[in-house]
Amino acid sequence: MTNLVNEKGIRLDGRRLDEMRKIVARAGVLKRADGSGYFEFGNTKAIAGVYGPRPIPKFLEEEERSVLNVIYYMAPFSTKERAPPGPTRRSREISLVIKRALESIIFLEEFPRTTIDVYIEIIQADASTRCAAINAAAIALADAGIPMRDLVSSVSVGKIDGKIALDIAGKEDEEGEADMPVVYFPRRKEITLLQMDGIMTKEEFQQALKLALKGCEIVYKAQTEALRKKYEEIELDSLVQEIDNQIN
């Protein structure tokens, strides 16, 4: 077994223990969806599309609120070995977990008798896919103009070689001692989702949570920047240019 962390506290991919992978966030990547988002943690890549609020069959509707429908799906080519297409037990569970995490931030009561559909596709998986999925979904929801209390940000923390590390990746996920995805609601400083695999002591858990919240702040910044970029980029200058091109 190789060491996941060396004596200097450097991990396999050259990161420090409290360092995150490279983040890429984008808004409005799908033209056909009402809102869309893309989120990347190093080699983990997620794309989310939001449709609605739109009508729902009568037997599924709720009189007082909109029904949030989340589908998390892993592309067959996303993993090292090809995964058979179609929903699995795991993907169904994660869909439900993400739905719970997002429900608490959306004003569902504003659109009674409708549904909001969130489709998340993992196009490349390298640990913490549910975190990337939630981050992409939050961007997509804001892009779709759905009323929300705030964006949610998510990051995973874990214990590798007895040390607490931020943003677990690849081998660390497979061979590490613990893995804990956290979804954070920055405005209220609340946690909307917390799961854990493995064993940690109380002190380690507290340390891990602290680290996770620090990571979530970084993710939140990336998400807001992505949304701002989409809507601020459209300058009038580009309209002038477009008109000029069309005339000549």
Binding site: D34, G35, G52, P53, R54, P55, E63, E64, F107, E110, F111, P112, R113, T114, A142, D143, A144, G145, I146, P147, M148, R149, D150, L151, P186, R187, R188, T224, L227, R228, Y231, E232, I234, E235, L236, S238, L239, V240, E242, I243, Q246, I247
Partner: protein, 271 residues
Amino acid sequence: MEKNENSKKEVENDYEKALERAKARRLVLPGEELGYGIAGSGTYIEKGIVVSKILGLADERNGTKFVIPLSGVYNPKRGDGVIGIIKDIVSSKWLVDINSPYLATLSLSDALNEFIDLTKEDLTKYYDINDVIFTKVLNVSRNKLVTLTMKEKRCRKLYGGTIIKVTPSKVPRIIGRKGSMVELIKEKTGCQIVVGQNGLIWIKGENKRLATEAILKIENYAHKVGLTDKIKEFLDAMLAKAEKRKEERLKEEEQGLDIDITIEMEEEKQI
């Protein structure tokens, strides 16, 4: 003359004020704090502070803070003039698609003034499925049952034409201040245009392609300053271009005719 100049100045002042207002607006994201005040549309209050709940442009009027959305579906409001498409007819009412998540109902008494004997008459005589109407929202109940009326000003059936879809939040920009933008497009292209608050726009006329292009441009650049002038420039240039092309085509046709005639003459000579 003086009066004219004065009114001109007023218009300019108005324009500058609008410019300043538009520049003061800033892009906000859900969860962004707007400070203390009264919570208007697109906001909520948490611990006494007004917070934005949608992505949009923050603005303030008389202490009320509100956010103008930049995306999202149409949420029907009482008194909105909308364009609807008849989707179904049930016993004594029509079901109308108004580009929102909710189907609206237009009941018989809100649609017609005369008495109708339902046992003898067919409702499709008045509005058939897939007919397009301009109608007003009479009421929206708490659980979003939308009723429409045809008994108000400007409500009518729209014959022919094309419907285009834009983001509902950008409709005010397409209409412009006191209808300036839509009047400009109507004037330049000579099209009939009806704009619904729900983001459906009905266009009829020869130049509807150009009108559509202009409207989609406005939609893409809706929250930018000085748009009216740019659109005017665009329409003028495109119209001039079309005119030029037309002239060229006419010329070509004339030349073509000349050639035909000469050939005929030659043929005659041969005979």
